[in-house]
Every structure is written in C-alpha cells, then in structure tokens.
Symmetry: C2
Subunit: 210 residues, 2 copies
C-alpha cells in the first residue's frame, strides 16, 4: 500500500475550502455543501443555507449571484481537486499497477473522507446551468483520461489483462464514484480501509499479475 499518506496537490486536506474568501462566503459555501449533500440541490432552500451559516437569507446574495452559482463553485472546486488527486497518482513513479493502486486508493479515500462534497460533485451535475455544466463536463473528461492512461500503459506493458481498456476504466471510475453514495462515517470502514480494499479489488479486476 501507500506509505502513511501521500501529499495531494491542489489544496490542504484539512481545510478544503481555504481558497474561498472572504470568510463569510466560505461559511455559506460550506453550509451549502452540507445542505446539498443531505437533501439535494432542489430540496435545499436559500433560507436553509443562510441559516446554517448563521446569516439572514439576504446575505447570501452579497457573495453569490444565485443559488446555482453556489453549486457551480462547489462543483468546480471539487472537480479540480479530484483531477489533481488523479493526476498526481497517474504521473507518479512506479509500475502501472502501483500507480493504478495509488490512484484508486487516493480517489476512493477522498470520496469517503469528503463524502458530503463528493456527493454534491458527483450527483448534482444535472442541476447546473448550461455554461457551468459544459465547463464541468470538460473537467470530467480530463479526470477519466488520467485513469484510462494508466490502464492502457498497464495493458501495453503486459501488466494487466483486460479485453476492453475503456470498459475497464469506466468500471473503475464507477466503483470509486459510487463510494460517495454509500459511505457512512459510522459505518464498518474508515476511508483508508475502503481505499486499500478497493485498490486491491481493482488490481484483481484488471488481471494484474500479483
């Protein structure tokens, strides 16, 4: 497995929203993440978001033009974080198997540890407006490309044995993303444990020689 914890580019893991300023805007955004993850974008009211941030409903509109802009900002930052995690792992050193295991375990760890954010990022895409959705779709293609690259390299190097590299990549991404749906903090596993378990299962899946 990975050592203790590899550093992940693109932000501090303890303060994921440090780049959002001023502080009131950050408090609103964090409140929105919680509310969107709990109840979904459409079921969340601006009054609820403002309330969680300890402000009046009107305060929201000083920092964000609309409720949708909040979602767009969350989705943007979240996808950039996901891309940074996977790029780091895919660009790292080692065999394709080692890099794939690293990518899966970090990506899964993020989906588990930041599962509220991940839930919004992965499941509220359709609530985005046209413009932000296009931006996000482009980011997602880049995200996919990182994993596909490692899978292809593994196949070419004879490390993996898969009949359909694109299909395998899809399944791997799918497996990781779905962690955000089912992960519970009071459940059976810690984020690290799920990451390790899934890295192992994925190596099996691509027929990596062990």
């Amino acid at each position: 497995m990975s050592t203790a914890e590899e550093t992940t580019a693109g932000g501090d893991e303890r303060q994921p929203w440090a780049e959002v300023t001023p502080e009131a805007a950050r408090r609103l955004l964090v409140a929105a993440v919680d509310a969107f993850a709990e109840r979904g974008y459409h079921a969340t009211t601006t009054r609820d978001i403002a309330g969680r941030a300890g402000m009046s409903p009107a305060a929201l509109y000083i920092h964000y033009k609309t409720k949708e802009e909040l979602l767009a900002r969350i989705s943007r930052i979240g996808h950039e974080k996901a891309l940074a995690i996977l790029r780091d792992a895919a660009d790292g050193e080692g065999t394709a198997a080692e890099r794939l295991a690293g990518a899966v375990s970090s990506f899964v760890r993020w989906h588990a540890a930041q599962h509220t954010t991940a839930r919004v990022v992965q499941y509220e895409l359709e609530a985005l407006g046209e413009d932000s959705r296009a931006e996000i779709v482009a980011l997602r293609k880049e995200v996919d490309a990182q994993v596909r690259r490692v899978v292809r390299e593994g196949v070419e190097a004879g490390e993996f044995e898969v009949p359909d590299a694109q299909g395998a990549t899809l399944a791997i991404m799918s497996l990781c993303i779905d962690v955000a749906r089912w992960f519970r903090v009071d459940g059976r596993w810690t984020p690290d444990e799920v990451g390790a378990l899934y890295a192992d299962l994925v190596l099996n899946m691509v027929g990596a020689k062990r």
Copy 2:
C-alpha cells in the same frame, strides 16, 4: 416469447408496470418515472407529471394521495423487481461462479435497460417518507443478502479468493447500481454488452479460478 432470454420472475420485461391498474394510474406512474429520472423528485412538479400523462393536475389526486405516494409505489415495485432478479440468479443451478456471473449480468442488464426506473429506485431514496423508507430499506437488505450468499458460497467452495466477503459484496453491488447513473441509450454499449463485461470483471474481482 422470450426464448434465449431467461424469464425473470416478478413481471414481464416489456411491460414493467403491467401490475398497475387502472390504465390512467399506470400512465401517471410511467410519466412520474420519466420525470423523476430526468429532473429528480424534488425538481419535478405534479403539473409536469400530469401533463406528460395527458391529464389535468387534479387527476393525479384521484389515483394517488400525494406526489410522494407515486415515488413510494415506483420504489417498491422497482425494488421487488430487483430482488426477484437476484433471487432467481442466486437460487439457480451451477457453481457459485456461474451464479454470480448470472446475477451480475441480469442485474446490470436491468439497470441499463430500465435505467430511468433504476435511477429513481437507486437515487431518490432520501425523498421517501419515514414509513416507505423503512419498507424499502428492508427490501434492500434482502437484495444485498442474495449476492452476499453467493459470494460466501464461492469462498467456502474454494472458487473465490477474497479477504473480505462483505467488502467484495458491497463493491459488486456498488458497481452494478452505478450503471443506472452513467448508462446512456446512445452510448457505446448495449445492456447485454455491459452485463457481459461486468460479469467478467466481477469474476476477476473475486479472484475466481478461470
């Protein structure tokens, strides 16, 4: 009739909502499935559902007490169908590997072919009221149990090699369920192809001797 296709208990695959009567109630329910899958439960209005069914908004309330009852009915029938599919496969004949492959391919095929229904069934749980949610959660436990049983039997028979049967089961279910999220009718694969691909990947995942 279906010859090559295995018959699946719990309803005809071409008319999935045949058990819903009268016809107007079925039309409303099908409209609700489409709308919920497209836009999500909370973003769907009763006017939209009624409009898709070619009726006035008030007509909905002759057949259903509330909008939530529509969701509950859809979720109930969908989960029963899913359970029937997996029970059939798990109770079938053959080695654990054959039964697991059958379970995964049928379950995935359903998630792909009926992806609008599956999307509602799998992603709108939190919109359910307390009572229906409890009922559905019980059904989901039974669904999980079918797959877990086959995995355990495979491990005991020495067919599979997994360090954590529960973890592997979770990953298998997760993989299948997420098909409803990403599957597109105009995409690269047919439901049958995804079913076959995924059955193969899952056998790898559990370390089945090939």
